[in-house]
């Protein structure tokens, strides 16, 4: 039976098998890929030119169905609602059994389907060769061996997708279940997935499916289905989902043993040994410290030091800005326009100079360092190493992923909290991200400023922020109802990152940065200019004096920095940086600590509203702002008492 593939191509499979890499190869549209499970948390869309502009959908990985986490639900939803799609399952060649266990479910959905067995190079390196022709015969669907990161097998995949048939696949489940499926089939909608597949998902207890069904069929029919499920459960000791899973696993095991030819490879490789070292209870810590030092050197010393020095002082300060100032002053007749363009809060002197000369080199180096680590597989090791530390915050080591991602961009990280299992974990991590995790842009500016004062200043800032993070996390854990989820996570193999892939990823992130940040920077500089002109800024400074000067001990001009902080926290830090010599070391540290904790940037605030609703976002903001000022004031007093930097 051949069906034309009109509706599009749906990429599905387990986490971290390379769906997003294939998506990029097929569509040319880049979605961020990395070597850890849970990089993709929502469905992305593109279109494949080689397939007649067929729409292509990339979905978050599912460990198994029924779906359990927010990102997995998105995949189930796509399977249920996308009409007339071809399924492209991406499997992991080195873990064929697990991949096939999902194949057994997908292949009965009544959709045309192709299986890509990805990472065959890694499987071969580990001594497993897969006979794809034999596998295709066993499954009754086209199978293509691929190495997505190097484009191997993609052309053949495109050919197979064009003529993909609905598989003639049937897996026989235990008799009681088969009987129930027959009874359930007429009750289920016939215009979506095959009723048999819907029945299997329903028996396994997929909540997302039940929500979807509630809008499609009558409540009485749903009741009948539930009664059927309860009746079948009576025949088994184990939960139905486990029984189904075992049937599929047994099938996968049978097929895998027939198509995998073992090639002996002795001993653990260097990568594997390094992998053990990274999670070792003792040696893991020196490894972490070296990694952190490496980042500090590359981003802090090289990016924020050398590159910024070259760009900001030499290029912009020495060449471009004087030239531009001269140009404006001799060609533009209106003095107010001079101020607008090249004045103290000028669009060029403040906006563009900061964005291009100060922050751009810092985020570029950070994104490169981050990309290398992401692709190496180190972050998943960090999950294990940090698990114990996260226990106190009511979280498990998986929370380290959004937290580290937050050091890149808090907005992206807030979205990534979807990989966490419970709403409770998501809320705690989102709150901590909004409060105490500085993003790369801000981090860079902060590191640059503090390194200019002393190492002690950096240490004070770091300890304060960490203290707030731990204390607030601990309190949140105490106050929020619910239980902590113990850690279970997959550790992907350590790999040497491919430079081309890291650069593509860095470029994609930089593009996003430039698109988001530069307009905001200009708006911010413009808003300050207008406020200054209208006399609102001096008035605001006056009004904020009790807090900014009285409580924090900062000059009133620092109010402008906090105002900028509303747009983006790094603008705020940059504003302090611009005040330079007007601030003592102590004032700088107090100002930066306050700004680090201060409101999350506008974009991440919108993301929090989107993910958690307006009420919770407002509540977070109401907690964060006073807290930031409270901590800042305390620090001011403590440092004065200690006689530091006054």
């Amino acid at each position: 039976m051949n069906t034309p593939a009109a509706g599009g191509l749906l990429l599905v499979g387990q986490p971290n098998v390379g769906k997003s890499v294939l998506f990029h190869a097929l569509t040319g549209r880049y979605v961020v890929v990395a070597n850890y499970p849970g990089t993709t948390v929502e469905v992305s869309r593109g279109s494949a030119r080689a397939l007649g502009d067929m729409p292509v959908l990339d979905t978050p990985g599912v460990i198994s169905l029924p779906s359990r986490t927010g990102d997995e639900h998105a995949t189930t939803r796509a399977l249920l609602t996308e009409q007339d799609v071809v399924l492209l399952q991406v499997g992991d060649a080195k873990n064929l059994r697990r991949s096939l266990q999902l194949t057994a479910l997908f292949a009965e959905m009544g959709r045309p389907m192709v299986l890509a067995v990805n990472m065959v190079d890694e499987a071969e390196a580990r001594g497993a060769h897969i006979d794809t022709a034999a596998l295709a015969t066993e499954l009754g669907l086209p199978v293509v061996a691929t190495v997505a990161t190097r484009g191997k097998g993609v052309a053949q995949l495109q050919e197979e997708i064009k003529k993909a048939p609905v598989p003639r696949f049937h897996l026989e489940y235990p008799a009681e279940i088969e009987a129930a499926l027959d009874v359930m089939a007429p009750l289920l909608p016939a215009d979506a997935l095959a009723p048999r597949a819907l029945g299997l998902l329903f028996l396994a207890g997929d909540g997302e499916l039940e929500d979807w069904l509630a809008g499609r069929i009558g409540a009485d029919q749903v009741e009948l289905l539930r009664a059927q499920r309860d009746a079948v459960q009576q025949s088994f000791v184990e939960p139905l989902s486990a029984v189904l899973q075992q049937t599929r696993m047994a099938f996968a095991d049978r097929v895998a043993s027939r198509v995998i030819r073992a090639v002996d490879k002795g001993g653990a490789g260097l990568a594997q040994r390094l992998g053990y070292l990274a999670v070792h209870p003792v040696w893991g810590w020196p490894v972490l410290l070296s990694v952190l030092y490496g980042i500090y050197w590359f981003v802090g010393e090289f990016g924020a030091g050398t590159l910024v020095g070259l760009l900001e002082e030499d290029l912009f300060g020495g060449v471009i800005n004087p030239w531009f100032q001269g140009l404006v002053e001799s060609h533009v007749p209106w003095p107010w326009a001079h101020d607008l363009l090249v004045g103290e809060y000028g669009l060029w002197t403040m906006g563009m100079t900061y964005a291009l000369a100060l922050i751009l080199p810092i985020v570029t180096t950070f994104f490169i360092a981050f990309g290398v680590l992401e692709d190496s597989g180190y972050f998943s090791r960090l999950t294990v190493l940090s698990n114990r530390s996260f226990k106190a915050l009511g979280l498990n080591g998986r929370a380290v992923l959004p937290m580290i991602l937050g050091l890149g961009c808090v907005t992206m990280a807030t979205l990534t909290t979807r990989i966490l299992q419970t709403p409770r974990e998501r809320l705690i991590v989102t709150f901590l991200l909004a409060l105490a995790i500085p993003c790369s842009a801000q981090l860079g500016v902060v590191m640059g400023i503090l390194a200019g004062i002393s190492f002690g200043a950096t240490l004070i800032w770091f300890c304060m922020v960490l203290l707030v993070l731990v204390t607030v996390g601990w309190l949140a854990n105490r106050m929020m109802p619910g239980k902590r989820i113990p850690l279970m996570t997959e550790l992907p193999p350590l790999r040497l990152p491919v430079p081309g892939n890291v650069l593509t990823k860095t470029w994609a992130r930089l593009k996003w940065y430039l698109e988001e940040v530069i307009p905001l920077f200009l708006i911010g500089a413009f808003a300050l200019f207008v406020l200054d002109r209208l006399g609102v800024l001096p008035w605001l400074m006056q009004a904020a004096e009790p807090v900014v000067t009285g409580w924090l001990g900062l000059p009133r001009e620092a109010t402008a920095a906090f105002l900028m902080g509303f747009l983006r926290r790094d603008f705020g830090a940059t504003g302090l940086f611009a005040m330079g010599a007007a601030l003592t070391a102590q004032q700088m540290v107090v100002g930066i600590v306050t700004l680090t904790l201060f409101v999350p940037c506008f974009a991440s605030l919108l993301m929090i509203v989107k993910e958690h609703g307006l009420r919770r976002a407002a509540l977070m903001l109401a907690l964060i702002m006073p807290l930031a000022f409270f901590i800042g004031g305390l620090l001011h007093r403590a440092l004065s008492l200690a006689g530091w930097g006054g």
Binding site: R68, N95, S241, M249, D253, P486, E490, L491, P492
Partner: protein
Amino acid sequence: MSKPKTLTDVPARSHVHIEGFTPDTSHELRERLLAYGLIPGQHIRVLAQKPVTVLQIEHTELALEKVLAACVLVKKQA
């Protein structure tokens, strides 16, 4: 018969077979473990016991916190 062994009772670097799960293992956990391929009879290698249990099944490395590893019954390879 001695008390059944769980994954936490065997030292690192040992090879074991999965026997099943303790009776108090929740449905959801059982399902997740099965999805990773921890089915009765499956051979696995225990790679580490600290800071959490790390095991290798096929070519997947899986990290399990102690309370979860204690739900998996295993038998030492003869």
